[in-house]
């Protein structure tokens, strides 16, 4: 925690960085007879941006959703910022303030303006008074470039703007890690850039991030590490140059060839 140095070693979680922000071990998740996660480990160091890629149904979303316990793993352990997430003694609501999440379909509250969307948890979870929550929400919306749109309802915003409000809603709580589940998949191509720019700025500000996405160019440019998943297992991981340039597994190679064609 005391080392503010930017990680020069763009690779697997460098042991020199101190304890990881996210440390998941041996995660199992089954739906009936179907094992969706088969003993997955995932460790994310402070300030690290980890990209998770893999074919549809490989368990990427499930893994991400276990990390804030939207999904309950059947087995394994998860530590986030030192908190034992799966322990029955853990106050999950308190823990979730430290874990921001952004969804593919934005999931903004349609009956609230952009600012109210951001304010709700500030008021009800952090118990800020109205004036303070308004100021914090305004700052978060400015950060994602939506200062002018604060009083718009989600229906009055483009998909890209909605997703940026969703990011503001999460970062306003000052989480220790942000989880993104295909944040740009539901967007028209011309709106993707705006969201990726916000994510790039977050990374520059030192946010720890786990991103499930098919934006390979973004992964190449911004990720510290890329994790390839298939059939509920982590098949390989490494710096983007390695995973995209010289993947070890045939399945990784096939997947990347297929994605690159798009």
């Amino acid at each position: 925690m005391t080392s503010p140095a930017p990680s020069p070693s763009r690779g697997a979680p460098a042991p020199g960085l101190g304890r990881p922000i996210v440390d998941a071990r041996g995660l199992w998740k089954r739906y009936g007879p179907l094992a969706v996660l088969k003993g997955v480990d995932l460790s994310v160091a402070e300030r690290e941006l980890v990209f998770i890629i893999g074919p549809s149904g490989s368990g990427k979303s499930t893994l991400l959703r276990c990390l804030n316990r939207l999904e309950e793993p059947d087995d394994g352990s998860i530590h986030v910022d030192g908190i034992e997430l799966l322990s029955p003694r853990t106050d999950i609501n308190a823990a979730r303030r430290r874990i921001g999440m952004v969804f593919q379909s934005f999931n903004l509250y349609p009956h609230m303006t952009a600012r109210q969307n951001v304010m709700l948890a500030l008021r009800k979870v952090l118990r800020q008074d109205r004036a303070q929550a308004e100021a914090v929400a305004a700052r978060a919306l400015e950060r994602v470039g939506l200062a002018e749109r604060m009083d718009h309802f989600p229906a009055q915003l483009s998909g890209g703007q909605q997703q940026r409000v969703a990011i503001a809603r999460a970062i306003a709580l000052e989480p220790r890690v942000m989880l993104f589940d295909e944040p740009t998949s539901a967007l028209d191509p011309e709106l993707v850039g705006g969201v990726l720019n916000v994510m790039r700025e977050l990374r520059q500000d030192g946010m720890t991030m786990v991103v499930v996405s098919h934006e390979m160019a973004f992964a190449r440019a911004a990720a510290d590490r890329v994790v390839f998943m298939a059939d509920g297992e982590k098949l390989e991981e490494g710096p983007p140059a390695q995973i995209f340039g010289e993947p070890r597994h045939e399945r990784t190679r096939a997947f990347i060839r297929q994605i690159d064609r798009h």
């Binding site: 379909s105 903004l108 349609p110 009956h111 009800k124 979870v125 709580l173």
Partner: protein, 223 residues
């Protein structure tokens, strides 16, 4: 024609019956002011129980809802008022009305609200919980407001039916509008008080009927 006017639109009779009709009207307003909130509270509780919580509780809530939607409210009311005393329980006329409407109306509101809650996408709850809101907070601030908005025409419609249904309180001798109109009719041997009661109901409920049409048109246009 004259006979018709004498029997149904008799000004002298109306003047004579006016005070007790007015009193009945006030009772009807009071009944509505009690039964609608009671039903809504029961409905919210039932809707929450039948959409969240353990499976056994969801099933129990669904069964409860079915039961009290199937029992005619008049039968329920008579049982509470005239049946329970045989078990030594006397809830009185107001008690019978309150309990009966809580059970019957709550079941109807519960069905409407359950549909409303189920119309809210799952991602809304997930987004709310991911920011650290408790389940109860998420329901209160995120899910229920949307649920109510999605079924507003049905909720208002149901409310209209509840207000009309308050006239069954006349069978347990609560002096509401219908009861008073019948008293007046019996006293005057004239049907004008009944016509006056019908007009009063119309004037009370017509705005609700208009509101429902507007909400339904808006819902259609929003589709």
């Amino acid at each position: 024609m004259e006979e018709f006017a004498f029997a149904f639109l008799n000004g002298d009779i109306l003047r004579e019956a006016w005070p007790i009709l007015w009193q009945g009207f006030l009772y009807t307003l009071a009944l509505a002011a009690i039964t609608v909130p009671l039903g809504l509270v029961g409905g919210v509780v039932l809707a929450l129980l039948s959409t969240s919580g353990p499976r056994a509780i969801r099933l129990a809530a669904a069964g409860w809802t079915d039961l009290f939607r199937a029992i005619p409210p008049l039968v329920l009311l008579v049982f509470l008022y005239a049946g329970l005393p045989f078990a030594g329980i006397d809830v009185g006329a107001w008690g019978a009305v309150a309990i009966g409407f809580f059970l019957n109306t709550g079941a109807y509101y519960g069905e409407v609200l359950r549909a409303g809650i189920e119309s809210v996408p799952r991602g809304q709850m997930e987004a709310a919980r991911s920011t650290g809101l408790s389940r109860g907070q998420a329901l209160r601030y995120v899910i229920l407001p949307q649920a109510v908005r999605n079924v507003l025409p049905d909720l208002v419609s149901n409310t209209l039916e509840v207000v009309k249904l308050t006239s069954i309180a006349s069978v347990v001798a609560l002096p509401e509008l219908l009861f008073q109109a019948r008293q007046a009719q019996n006293a005057t041997y004239n049907a004008t008080p009944i016509v006056a009661a019908a007009v009063a109901y119309f004037l009370l409920l017509w705005p609700l009927v208009r509101l429902i049409s507007r909400l339904e048109n808006k819902a259609l246009a929003g589709r």
